[in-house]
């Protein structure tokens, strides 16, 4: 498809395919002018029958009715929040803003939810949570109720939640059920969500650096009628760590939105919007597609970031012959290198069993390198961290 990139190739082929990625961009490297008219587009959310704006309003900023009104004026019709954000204050703020603006309820799509039920949680307590959300939102119906912050298939397959949803759905209080989350085990959660057939919507982290297998999962979800909304498309938003990344007037933010919206399985990208400028910048990304310079910018970011940081997913630990605590060590290294907490990082490292430290990596062939789903040089990173953090051999 002209004007788009193949994400899997983009991710996997590395520098050798730079020409490919650049070649797939449009010829005009100039982004649209700042005062170009905004034109929102809408996509069906799977088989729900809901039409969601390609840009959704993230949880924050809804305590500012003029900002919400500006978002509505810009065509944003989808608002995402949670009963847990600020102890429900975010839902209250959204309800207050909708009331102040007087927006007809049927002209907005509302997503909200709560973390997975605890082991002792009853159907009645989940129904009480839903009622509390309705009260705070000042509405009688939630469009999409999220089983939020799922971390494992067990979180996804909650019978009390399913029963509560069925009862609330029959009462007209909730329309559709979603899985929401962004933890390392999200792929397994999505798989479980497809398998069980109880969810109509996925709301998941999605970016151009991480989790390449997620595309295939979302494809199968779409085939089953599950609609997908995404967030955190900025791949860590560490753009400030790359010099002149946005040179030439490019917007990394806009490019990430365009990239995500380039996937047909993605119905909408949720963005935190706290200013009028952010609304304009985000909505201006709709319908324009990646230009060559933006593709090159994303490629550069992916190339420079992919090996730079550990996602703490622990995938590599399963194959470590020494039981090295890779994720913990890399977390301590981050404390040391990124947060200036050198003493604490070294203290924590010292508390690890010596056999679980990077000391074990010195003479190891490093099967962890091949195990890292993000292509990091895990062993080298562990040795660097050990040299930096270890006090026992100093």
């Amino acid at each position: 498809m002209a004007g788009t990139i193949d994400r899997r190739k983009f991710l996997k082929l590395g520098t050798a395919t730079a020409g490919f990625a650049l070649g797939c961009g449009q010829d005009n490297p100039e982004p649209p002018p700042a005062d170009a008219p905004l034109a929102m587009r809408y996509r069906p959310l799977g088989a729900t029958g809901l039409e969601v704006s390609e840009i959704s309003f993230g949880a924050h900023g809804v305590d500012n009715p003029p900002l919400m009104a500006a978002a509505l004026d810009a065509g944003i019709n989808t608002f995402c929040t949670s009963g847990r954000y600020m102890d429900g204050r975010e839902e209250e703020a959204l309800g207050e803003a909708m009331a102040r603006i007087g927006v007809p309820r049927d002209q907005v799509v509302i997503l909200t939810g709560n973390p997975p039920p605890k082991p002792d949680e009853t159907v009645e307590s989940i129904l009480a949570d839903i009622d509390a959300s309705l009260t705070r939102l000042r509405t009688d119906s939630i469009d999409v109720y999220c089983n939020a912050q799922v971390e494992s298939p067990d979180d996804v397959l909650s019978e009390p939640l399913f029963e509560a949803f069925e009862r609330a759905n029959k009462a007209g209080k909730v329309r559709f059920l979603a899985i929401a989350g962004h933890h390392g085990g999200m792929q397994e959660c999505l798989e479980a969500g497809i398998e069980c057939g109880r969810y109509q919507v996925f709301f998941t982290k999605y970016d151009f650096v991480s989790y390449p297998e997620q595309d295939e999962i979302l494809n199968r979800a779409a085939a089953q009628g599950i609609g997908t909304m995404v967030f955190k498309v900025g791949a860590g938003n560490r753009k400030h760590e790359i010099e002149d990344l946005e040179a030439g007037g490019l917007s990394f933010h806009q490019a990430t939105l365009k990239w995500a919206l380039g996937r047909p399985e993605v119905a909408s990208v949720a963005v935190t919007l706290t200013s009028f400028d952010q609304i304009r910048e985000s909505v201006a990304a709709v319908g324009t597609g990646l230009v060559a310079a933006e593709t090159a910018m994303l490629r550069r970011y992916a190339d420079e970031m992919r090996h730079r940081y550990c996602r703490f997913c622990t995938t590599c630990e399963a194959g470590c012959p020494h039981g090295v605590a890779v994720a913990e060590i890399m977390r301590y290294e981050m404390y040391f290198s990124c947060y200036g907490r050198e003493k604490e990082a070294m203290r924590l490292y010292t508390q690890l069993p010596h056999t679980a430290t990077g000391a074990a990596c010195a003479d190891c062939r490093g099967p962890c390198n091949a195990a890292c789903p993000f292509g990091r040089e895990v062993r080298a990173g562990l040795l660097d961290a050990h040299a930096r953090l270890d006090l026992r051999e100093a």
Binding site: G58, A59, H60, G61, D63, N64, P65, P66, L67, A69, A70, C80, S82, R84, Y85, M86, D87, G88, R89, E90, E92, R100, I101, K118, P119, D120, A148, Q149, A180, G181, H182, H183, F231, T272, T274, S275, F276, D277, Q278, F312, R331, M334, Y335, C338, Y339, G340, R341, E342, K343, E344
Partner: protein, 309 residues
Amino acid sequence: MTVVARGPLAIPTLALMIGLASCAGDSPIEPVAPSLEDLLPPVTELAGWTIADGPLEYTPETLYEYLNGGAERYDTHGFRRLVHIRYQHDDDPLACVTLDVYDMGSELGAFGIFSAARPLGREPRQWGAEGYRIGTIAAAYKGSFFFHGEADDERTELVEMLDTLMLRVTEGVEGSVSPPSIFASLPVDHRMPGSERYVPENLLGHSFLPGGVLATYEIDGRRAELFLSDLGTGQRAADATAALRAHFEQRGTVVGGSPSFGDDGFRVTDPIFGQATVVRSGNSIAGIHGDLSTEEGEEILRRLITAVL
């Protein structure tokens, strides 16, 4: 037009109070900081209780693992560290109380995150500088720390432990028990208790406005919101005032007349923003908007300008 007289120290002080907190998120993390774990009430002093989980520490890089999308708001308020712990009653894993201690890096950051989360229907508590409990949830702030606790359910022993933990953890932290000093400058008459807020960036949703403070005023059931932002220099304040006026010329209606105080003042009417008056004074921009009459709102605004600038 009357130019409000101001003391020589007033403006730098205001800039310091708001400006430094605005920068909290960008400032480097101090390498030597007290362990947050030391602030947690020791389980050895809580008869019948054990630790079910933690202490776990989160950083700006990992906070989203705990708070999901809610982490962004903490980041903008200058979040530095969080320690999380769950205390368990007897041997019952389903009878726990969670306590979270956030180092927000500054008093305004801690107040800001606390004030952003104040829910309707809260019951005030004498914890720290300000605290409340609503059902099984409790929150407070003191100094640069924000405290949040939650009981698994409403069983008496859990809620009592929640109260105990909140009291003890807030008593164990040094810091003022008064609101951040900037709020002492806001007019008192008609101000709604607990309505004061601090926003670290994009005040009113405008990227040309940095952090600022807000408070709600009520007269005969009609409400208006007062705002104040320090731009650091007179030129920046003038530019921001012009930008705000331009915004309203596009989205609302700038009506005739201007207040008799401050500089570059203008009045606005907007179906959502309400009746508004905006003025610049020194390095700051201030205004009031909502359902109060122009006269009522401008009297509150005038008092603010007089007190602060």
